[in-house]
């Protein structure tokens, strides 16, 4: 077993901002896991992992002179996800730090502090390391989808998210 699986989100920042969407090829996700992950190169990447493995997320810009950082990664309870399916991949269109409605799953305390409205422009997202260990209780063959929020520069249309990528434990 590889000790670590790396997931890279490659973003066409100019394409995403001008089209207000992470879809249409503006976001490609890849991983280097040793099992065959599904949908490599798309926003629907389903990364096959094993309990105890470290998963690490990184965002990279296609044009190296454009800024993009991961703003948040949150795992979504199954019931909540359908309600949030609309507007997927669209700009959230909310100003920073103004008591924004919480993305699903975060009200229950499964997110880090970034999306809670306590951070503003000085987020220093570049200092964040998005790394964690796969819990042992995950059921094999179940897709644990997560919301990936990306921030491109600043301003009210700078944060976009998708809910389609997932982790899945390998079936024995």
């Amino acid at each position: 077993m590889k000790p670590q699986v790396n997931i890279i989100a490659v973003v066409d920042v100019i394409g995403a901002l001008s089209g207000s969407t992470l879809l249409d090829g503006n976001l490609c996700m890849m991983d280097d896991g040793e099992h065959s992950s599904a949908h490599q190169g798309t926003p629907d990447l389903c990364t096959v992992v094993q309990p105890g493995q470290v998963v690490s997320w990184t965002a990279l810009a296609v044009d190296l002179q454009t800024p993009v950082e991961i703003k948040n990664i949150s795992f979504v309870p199954a019931d909540d996800r359908h309600a949030s399916g609309q507007g997927q991949g669209q700009a959230q269109g909310r100003p920073h730090g103004q008591g924004q409605s919480q993305p699903h799953g975060q009200a229950q305390g499964y997110s880090n502090g970034h999306a809670q409205g306590e951070h503003s422009e000085g987020d220093k997202l570049d200092l964040d390391v998005w790394t964690g260990v796969v819990p042992g209780w995950l059921q094999p063959g179940v897709a644990y989808q997560y919301r990936l929020e990306l921030q491109m520069y600043e301003g009210e249309n700078s944060v976009m998210h998708i809910d389609t990528p997932a982790l899945m434990c390998r079936q024995h």
């Binding site: 998963v55 990664i73 795992f75 200092l127 520069y153 600043e154």
Partner: protein
């Protein structure tokens, strides 16, 4: 952070040559305003460089700086490389056609040939003299104005300047090994095939000054010939380096289990 940093050095070439100084004639921009750069669009730019380090103190991100000189009052650098040569050739062709026209009319009595010849001379423009020192893209071409027209005797004031060239980057930030600048070849002809770039050591926070040596070109007429003469000027700027520790974004501390809620997950195929 993998984002590359660009510093634009915009020079008002005409004013700089007139005052023989870049002070007040240089406008600096970078793409790090979000990260805290100050003085955008002035000569007082301080470029913010935010580094980061791991728990053991080692540098966690490498910053790359690129410098691009732009010019006020020049033909844009995005026009094709052969533009000057093309424009010069066009004006030659026009002059040849005018001469041919003149030759065919010369048999007609009463034609004022000297007047027409002088007209041809006026529209043909002037070529810049090539010397051993100034050979290169600038020489042998005609002088154009910013709209690409060949400069003639009637409008000599309106010529376009060659783009400024950075010839060296030195000073405190280089001496104290904060940055390692060098000039690189580039396939991007907007930069004339060359550009200055540096990597930065972010392990020693502070503000460090540096100096760019910038070469401008002045059109000099001597003994009836025109040539571009190099004028070397300097322009100071500064880097402000900060560095902060990396942190785990999920836990805000060390590494932990991924925060997956118990109810999460769907089997493929289930709605």
């Amino acid at each position: 952070m993998p984002q590359q940093l660009a510093i634009i050095v915009l020079v008002d070439v005409g004013s700089a040559l007139e005052s023989e100084s870049l002070e007040g004639n240089t406008y600096l921009f970078d793409n790090m305003k979000l990260q805290g750069s100050t003085g955008q669009g002035t000569g007082e730019l301080v470029t913010a460089i935010n580094g980061s380090y791991w728990r053991d103190g080692s540098q966690a991100s490498e910053q790359v700086l690129n410098w691009l000189p732009y010019s006020l009052g020049s033909i844009p650098p995005t026009v094709p490389r052969g533009y000057e040569a093309d424009r010069a050739r066009q004006s030659d062709e026009q002059a040849l056609a005018a001469l041919q026209d003149l030759a065919s009319k010369s048999s007609v009595p009463g034609t004022d040939q000297s007047e027409q010849l002088s007209q041809v001379r006026k529209t043909v423009g002037a070529r810049v003299k090539t010397t051993r020192r100034t050979s290169g893209r600038l020489s042998g071409q005609k002088i154009l104005d910013v709209t690409g027209k060949v400069v003639t005797e009637d409008n000599t004031a309106a010529y376009t300047y060659p783009a400024p060239v950075i010839t060296d980057i030195y000073g405190e930030a280089v001496d104290s090994k904060i940055m390692y600048p060098a000039e690189y070849g580039s396939p991007d002809l907007v930069t004339d095939g060359w550009y200055w770039s540096a990597t930065v050591d972010t392990s020693r926070p502070g503000t460090y000054s540096y100096v760019m040596r910038i070469q401008l070109h002045k059109l000099v007429g001597l003994n009836g010939e025109l040539r571009w003469e190099a004028v070397n000027l300097t322009c100071p700027s500064a880097l402000k380096i900060t560095s902060e520790p990396r942190r785990n974004a999920f836990t805000k501390a060390g590494m932990g289990m991924l925060p997956i809620p118990p109810g999460a997950g769907t089997r493929p195929g289930t709605p």
